[in-house]
């Protein structure tokens, strides 16, 4: 309040009018640009990274690799278990985060 009184006594009220006008102009521009930002960015929902969890049929050792086209749960692949060399099958296919969680990461 002391600062305001000082300004009013020494500078008059004219500066407040200008401050108001500048604030209005800044608010209008901020509004316009904020909308433009939304329009520009949009949402194209990038495809999530998919993981394939392989499991050894013999020893149950699990390994995760990137999803390949043609993968499905239960499929026995050509890959071998890194631990015992036995065939592996696809145990699960998933993304680490759901689309909503990914947004919050």
């Amino acid at each position: 309040m002391n600062v305001l009184n000082f300004l009013l006594q020494n500078q008059g009220t004219q500066w407040l009018d200008y401050l108001l006008i500048i604030s209005i102009v800044v608010a209008i521009f901020a509004f316009m640009f904020s909308n433009r930002g939304v329009r520009k960015a949009g949402y194209l929902g990038k495809p999530p990274e998919i993981h394939t969890e392989l499991m050894c049929i013999e020893c149950g050792f699990k390994e995760i690799r990137k999803f390949r086209e043609g993968d499905y749960i239960g499929k026995t692949t050509d890959e071998k278990c890194k631990k015992c060399g036995a065939p592996v099958h696809i145990n699960l296919i998933y993304t680490l985060f759901s689309p909503m969680e990914e947004k919050n990461q």
Partner: protein, 382 residues
């Protein structure tokens, strides 16, 4: 004359009687006052339309992205030069629901209409691809992808309709209705775009948790009988477990398919009649905001979505033979249900299996016959 009651010492803010600048600003205030009184709603309408324009723009981009992704996938397999022409025709196709003024027999009519629609849709996708080397399951997954793209197109068209209607009639209230729905419409569109990605890749979606659970339930168990196509697009397995005869019903995978589990359950019960002592249904269900994704709940009733035909069949047959109908649901949001299954949802299957076993133990005796149905889309799940 003081309009603004802020007093600081002997000076007044925004006063008339001062210099020219203050008079000008005061005049602007008075003009603004009348402008807002007479044109306030118009200004509000323009601001709302501006915001809705952004929403429409986003929906348009999502629609185009979904369409491009779907078309690129189809082009990868297609041997048809007229692919785009057929795609454009299919994407604008529609279904007219049967008349419900006289509801008697409406389920049969509805099923008939939906069967025709599905057959025609699959045939159209086959025409688009025109490649005999592409498997039936891949065609079904691609038809799901086209359907998701259709849903995006429809959302955009409906939103655009109300946007243009508000603009044409200068009606703030039409614009306000769309503005209120906009966040929901956008979240549906996001979900459908994620569905396009999921079906493009052929990876399991959240809705597939039901078939995934029964698939895991079957693992390491001796299958007594197996019928891949027990009824249209639906498989039936028979196992002996916990000294009980258990029938497992699920849609036929690993293509994108929901099958006809209601028809399959009806057929099994009609065959073995009163021998069936319990039906357990496992399905994904929409969670409420605040509930955890992947949380499990138990209840009674037919846990199955869709237009209601399959639900009706199950309810009718279990009522006829007085069979208890139990449901185990796995909760998730709409976006999670139709986008690629997250780890949080995929890893709950063990808990669900424990619950199935507990319910079987508690509610039935040794030697009883039970039906366990995994409801949902089998994309990426055999």
């Amino acid at each position: 004359m003081v309009l603004f009651p802020l007093v600081a010492g002997d000076k007044y803010l925004f006063q008339i009687g001062g210099d020219t600048g203050s008079i000008l600003i005061q005049t602007i205030y008075i003009l603004l006052f009348f402008v807002l009184i007479f044109f306030g709603q118009r200004i509000q309408l323009q601001l709302t339309l501006m915001e809705l324009g952004n929403v429409i723009g986003q929906l348009d981009r999502m629609r185009k992205k979904g369409r491009d992704e779907a078309l690129n996938k189809l082009k990868h397999f297609s041997k048809n030069d007229k692919l785009e022409e057929i795609f454009n025709r299919v994407i604008d196709s529609f279904v007219i629901m049967p008349e419900s003024m006289d509801p008697s027999g409406i389920i049969r009519k509805l099923e008939h209409i939906m069967d025709i629609r599905e057959t025609r849709f699959i045939n159209d996708v086959k025409k688009m691809i025109n490649n005999e080397e592409v498997s039936e399951s891949a065609i079904k997954t691609m038809s799901n992808m086209v359907e998701a793209s259709m849903a995006l197109n429809m959302l955009y068209k409906i939103a655009l309709h109300y946007y243009l209607l508000a603009k044409k009639t200068n009606s703030y209230f039409i614009a306000a209705q769309l503005q209120m729905q906009a966040p929901l419409i956008l979240s549906f569109a996001k979900a459908y775009l994620q569905a396009v990605y999921a079906f493009r890749d052929g990876a399991p979606v959240g809705d597939g948790i039901g078939p995934l659970v029964v698939n895991k339930f079957l693992e390491n168990k001796e299958i007594v009988k197996k019928k891949e196509e027990y009824v249209k697009d639906t498989s039936l397995y028979e196992i002996n477990y916990m000294n009980r005869r258990i029938f497992i019903v699920k849609a036929k995978g690993p293509g994108g398919n929901v099958g006809k589990p209601g028809e399959a359950i009806k057929k099994v019960i009609s065959r073995v009649k009163k021998e069936v002592k319990l039906v357990i249904m496992i399905d994904a269900a929409l969670k409420l905001e605040g509930e955890k994704s992947g949380s499990i709940a138990e209840g009674v009733g037919a846990a199955i979505g869709g237009i209601g035909v399959e639900k009706f069949k199950i309810e009718e047959i279990v009522t006829k033979y007085n069979i208890p109908l139990y449901a185990i649901i796995i909760k998730m949001s709409l976006i999670e249900a139709i986008s690629i299954m997250s780890k949080k949802i995929a890893t709950v299957y063990n808990d669900v299996i424990s619950r199935i076993e507990r319910v079987i133990k508690e509610e039935t005796k040794e030697g009883d016959t039970i039906i366990v149905a995994g409801i949902g889309n089998t994309v990426g799940i055999p």
